[in-house]
Amino acid sequence: MKAANLLSVWAVPVFISLVLIVGTIKQVPVFDEFLSGAGDGLSTCVKILPSLVALMTAVSMLRASGLLELLVKLIEPAANSLGIPPEIVPLAILRPVSGSGSLAMLENIFSVYGAESLIGRVASVLQSSTETTFYTITVYYGSVGVKRTRHTLASAAGGDLAGILLSSLTVKFLMA
């Protein structure tokens, strides 16, 4: 934990110092370049806002509708036969859709089963090794106006599925 803390505390300041020092040595007009870069950042924000509105509206409707709970009930038997603890299924379904939602669910799993339990560990591994797939796809493609994403979703979903399987396998084999 100590090494990890050191890294998370030092990574940003060390990186920023390096950039500023090298920029100054190379006689880059650092302040002017920063302003022009920050301006680009702002216009990117404006560009992704419409896709964010579309995505977050759909996702919050989905979470409010109770559809996820129905889906969990459907999937639980299949998950069980693959060796995935059924308590993990709600997290696995919410993870690709909502980052803050899945974090809240992870906290809920910790408070019910404990952070050191098998379920708590599988949930931690799952949360850490997968991403909010739908958010990433929508925002990244939305920013450049790509409508036809071809096989992006299928590949990403395959990766997420592998992550779900591997999270319970690795915890069972490495931690038992």
Binding site: A11, V30, V144, G145, G159, G163, S167
Partner: protein, 207 residues
């Protein structure tokens, strides 16, 4: 594709809400989603400006070029045919580095700039190019050295060594990223009829 998914999610949510008697909550969510998106943009906006500015200085100082030179073997495997010292590659590398160090706020601006650079080289502006797909898939499979958020949460819930799951996390995230990458390469090859040999073994090691 996104058209159908978006319509599908909205209509299914309304139908499910009607069936479970939660239609009023669904309506509230529908009307409040835009507000949430604006709030998120405001939260993200500062970080977005900051990191885009820093990236610009790093670029002018030649730092990103140096990174691109060191990483060019990996980039040749992941993005065959993309100039390893070009602007697109430099943005992709900064995005990957930020993700790896767990700086999600920094990774997004770099990633969006990378998409912008990849779009410039894309002949068909409505359709994703193979490089775009590889890049987006890399971002949907998070590869992170130390998952600080989860570790902090585990500590809070009494785990004596919250990072004891690190090996499991590394194997799982490498495995899921490799699966996604190999799948995307397989789809690309089968759909274009291109008979490029799969560098699957190398991708697995370096992903």
């Amino acid at each position: 594709m996104l058209n159908y998914i978006w319509v599908g999610i909205m209509l299914l949510s309304i139908a499910a809400g009607a069936a479970t008697g939660k239609l009023d909550q669904v309506t509230n969510a529908l009307l409040g989603g835009g507000e949430e998106a604006i709030k998120l943009t405001l939260t993200l906006g500062g970080a977005m400006c900051l990191w885009s500015g820093i990236m610009r200085i790093a670029e002018k100082g030649g730092l990103t070029k140096m990174l691109a030179r060191v990483m060019s073997p990996l980039m040749r495997i992941l993005f065959p045919g993309l100039d390893p010292s070009g602007a697109a590659c430099r943005c992709i590398l900064m995005n990957m580095a930020a993700n790896f160090l767990g700086l999600g706020n920094a990774a997004t601006p770099f990633g969006l700039r990378a998409m912008n650079e990849l779009a410039k080289a894309n002949p068909n502006e409505n359709t994703a190019s193979n490089h775009m797909i590889t890049f987006v898939v890399l971002n949907t499979a998070s590869i992170q050295l130390i998952p600080t958020t989860v570790a902090t949460l585990r500590l809070k819930y009494g785990a004596s060594n919250p990072l004891d799951i690190l090996p499991a996390i590394w194997i799982t995230s490498l495995g899921s990223a490799a699966t996604a990458l190999i799948l995307s390469r397989l789809f690309a090859v089968s759909k274009s009829g291109e008979r490029r040999k799969l560098p699957a073994g190398k991708a697995r090691v370096k992903a």
